[in-house]
Amino acid sequence: MKQIRNFSIIAHIDHGKSTLADRLIQYAHLVDDRQFRDQILDTMDIERERGITIKSQTVNLPYTSKDGNEFELNLIDTPGHVDFSYEVSRALASCEGVLLLVDASQGVEAQTLANLYAAMENNLVIIPVINKIDLPSADIDRVKDEIEHELGLDAESALLCSAKEGTGIEDIFEAIVERIPPPSGNTENPLTALIFDAQYDSFRGTIVSCRVFDGVVHPGDTIRLMAMGSTHKVEEVGIFRLKMEPEKELSAGEVGYIIASIKTVSDTRIGDTITLDTNPAARLLPGFKEVKPVVFSSIYPIASDDYHSLADALEKYKLNDAALVYQKDSSAALGHGFRCGFLGLLHLEIVQERLEREFDQSIIMTSPSVQYRFLLSDGSTVIIDNPTYYPDPTEIEKSYEPYIRASIMIPERYVGLVIKLCMDRRGVNSHLNYPTAGRVEIAFDMPLAEVIFDFYDKLKSITQGYGSFDYEIIDYRESDLSKLDILVNGEKVDALSTIVHRDRARERAVNACEKLRDEIPRQQFKIAIQGAIGGKIISRSTITPFRKDVTAKCYGGDISRKRKLLEKQKKGKKRMKIVGSVEIPQSAFMAVLKTDNE
């Protein structure tokens, strides 16, 4: 019987999770040093560039302990952003313990706490690890104090390491095998395996990452996805050692992959339970929920001829991202496209970037919106996430918008600024908490619509990077809403409409007009931009035409130079959509929501 330990690393962003994972992998000699590259588990370009983990990765690490016992340790990497907190919770549910990583100079931060709570909810053994002890600014005593008082953990149990320099790594392995319990579970029981991730591979189909709790699964078995109710024949099972290594079976306690005849990732649900069709488990593993999108935006191809190619790309993309939902949409200004739902704004940006990079699509995304509710005079309720379908104002009895509970952790000196920011964003019901001297946790109820766009960026900038932010959606509250339309040269551009709170309407309208003036390039005629509510113009701006644009000389050598310049401009133009006779760049559709007034 294999000796197994299943664990995860949790940390505030930049505290060194990926770096530590690299060291553990190197220690286990899964690849030789020549082939090793940093942040080896972050495989997508976007992950590497942004330094965040989007998809969970798993790696099976063989380890021989000091006393000579052989172990297999499964490291389950978790996505590192609030948008993906459900995925994080399922990954954690697949473990028995976690390494809680804390930066020796930054100390405990908001996500440290949020992650700790998530680990506690899953009854995991927690091993505190203080990382970056090599830094001159490392303050181990202070951090131990925070671990003791802010996190309520035994500071003496904390390990010290430098993931960068590779010190303290063996102690971490020893602590994992000593402190984290082996998985319980019985191979005799009916199969239950928790899906914590799924990826699409064009050769192999859907690859399901799972943790087996009870029973055994082999190739040839027919499995049933309990929540989905579908059955599939297993083609292969195995473990991840940076590449997939097939095994004869996966049994209780193990973490690995299953390839069955599952067509797309969306045929699986993260959190679903896999059982055997012939000998099914009585019930699902606890904690399953359907993730619901909270941010909505429409995607249009820049050239309307590319609609079918975009449809194809979305279908392929969706194979790999079950969280994205979409349906057909159309706009008077932009033609045919798709209305999409996202887990959050980061998710939206990732989808946008991947569609452009991996699928070579030139797209426009409209301003993101949350889901509003309207009680109409005939007693019915409508839910609307697209300003185009805003109900007739005379029929609206009551309007509601979603609220979140924001939790913000900052050094004390920023309290005034952050409270002002939250109040500006219609925050109410504030709560201040002082977990340790010098540190403040601020909680606010705020409309989701006020935070989806640039709230986090704003927060980071006013707190010089020290602020951290987490939120959960709490409820819908009554709100005084209206629809802000934008007219470009007198023509309403439906894709630029937004739903706004009435108190903020004028400010938003002025802001949108200014932003559009900056985003829309000058053309050979004057462009008027207006903001209107219910047909009444409440703001305006003008883009002056260019007066002269022609180079003086154009002889032998100038010709190639000039052409290259135009070719560059031509590329930029690929990201413009012509509405009426005005070229509107992709960035304009997002800019209408941006609110920096400095």
Partner: protein
């Protein structure tokens, strides 16, 4: 329209370097003989590659710096390696400060039949700012000599929109120029080119280019004024007294007619291919001494690139763009009708012709016909 190729010879030498100029030239005149020797090798390379040239353009730099001896040698080189049509247009760029009656007589005996004189301004303050080697009166005398020696086909190069220059001051320069009854005028918007001393001053914020509105005013008043004096505004910066006086040579650049450029930094074009020489007299000479082509790089234009060039070159000239180049796409049709309506272009004989208003934004027009 002739489609004989054109020949350009770049004479990369100047007595001093003007701080706004980004043509390739050096002030070390001791390299002139080496340059001429290398040019002979280069001419040999292209000996049988072009049919008879109907234009020859000696540009620079300052071709009028060439000694009689060097001129003779150059003529021999070109004569022995290339064919010319009987009516060949032979242009030389000259600077006012080295014009003498004797030199002009000599040029005439060499077959030169068109002179382009770089005057830039008839205002001494402006000339001082430009650090030119001549004054207004030197320029006036030089042009008088040109006329006296019987050159009726001569053009004057001028510049407007110079920092500190008012519109009146510019129009005064134009009037002075017209008094000499030139066959041709080139009027260039003063431009602060990046790799020049004045361009660097601009980057440092010490020199300010004219604003867009001002440029527009200068451009329009120049065009209006010269047209009222009977000139044809046949290219953004070029005016000719009659169609025959349009620069035959320069039009080849704008119409994708083949041309061969000899000398450092010179560009050539043939069969959809463009290549250009090293922008250094030393490297140019080295390559040729080693028996290699002095070519720095070349490009073969795709049909798409050729179309882009036809569009942006066409929109700069009164010949315009063939209608065929924008047909077959309903979006272009509507763009075209919008531009017609706004009077940026007109359509005549299956060509889209830019108006004066169109010239003003000629660099914006081509991309309107690309997706």
């Amino acid at each position: 329209m002739s489609s004989n190729p054109g020949l350009y010879v770049h004479v990369p030498f100047c007595k001093t370097k003007c701080p706004y100029c980004d043509f390739y030239s050096i002030t070390d005149l001791s390299l002139m003989d080496a340059w001429l020797k290398a040019l002979k090798h280069e001419a040999a390379i292209y000996r049988d590659e072009f049919s008879a040239f109907d234009s020859l353009y000696l540009g620079g730099g300052t071709p009028s710096l060439l000694s009689y001896q060097q001129m003779e040698t150059l003529k021999d080189i070109l004569r022995t390696h290339f064919d010319f049509t009987p009516d060949v247009e032979i242009t030389i760029e000259v600077n006012p400060d080295d014009m003498t009656r004797e030199k002009l007589k000599f040029l005439e005996s060499m077959g030169v039949n068109r002179i382009s004189i770089g005057v830039q301004s008839f205002n001494d303050e402006v000339l001082t700012f430009l650090k030119r080697r001549h004054t207004a009166s030197v320029a006036e005398k030089a042009i008088d000599l040109i006329r006296l020696c019987g050159f009726s086909n001569f053009g004057i190069d001028l510049m407007y929109g110079i920092p500190g220059q008012t519109e009146d001051c510019w129009l005064e320069t134009l009037r002075c120029a017209l008094a000499f009854q030139p066959a041709h005028l080139s009027c260039y918007q003063f431009t602060l080119e990046e790799r020049t001393p004045y361009g660097r001053l601009k980057a440092e914020g010490k020199l300010h280019p004219a604003g867009e509105c001002e440029e527009k005013r200068f451009f329009l008043s120049t065009s209006d004024f010269l047209k009222s004096k009977g000139f044809i505004h046949y290219e953004v910066s070029n005016f000719a007294k009659t169609q025959k006086r349009e620069s035959r040579h320069n039009k080849k650049y704008w119409q994708h007619i083949p041309y061969l450029g000899l000398g450092p930094a010179a560009h050539s074009f043939k069969n959809g291919m463009r290549w250009w020489n090293h922008r250094s007299v030393e490297r140019y000479c080295q390559a040729l001494t080693a028996g290699e082509k002095p070519v720095e790089a070349s490009e073969t234009l795709s049909p798409e690139q050729l179309r882009l060039e036809r569009l942006f070159l066409g929109f700069r000239t009164k010949g315009g763009v063939p209608l065929d180049d924008v047909s077959g796409n309903p979006k272009y049709d509507s763009t075209l009708s919008r531009l017609k309506q706004s009077r940026h272009v007109t359509v005549r004989k299956n060509r889209i012709i830019p108006t004066q208003k169109g010239y003003l934004i000629a660099d914006r027009l081509p991309l309107m016909f690309f997706d």
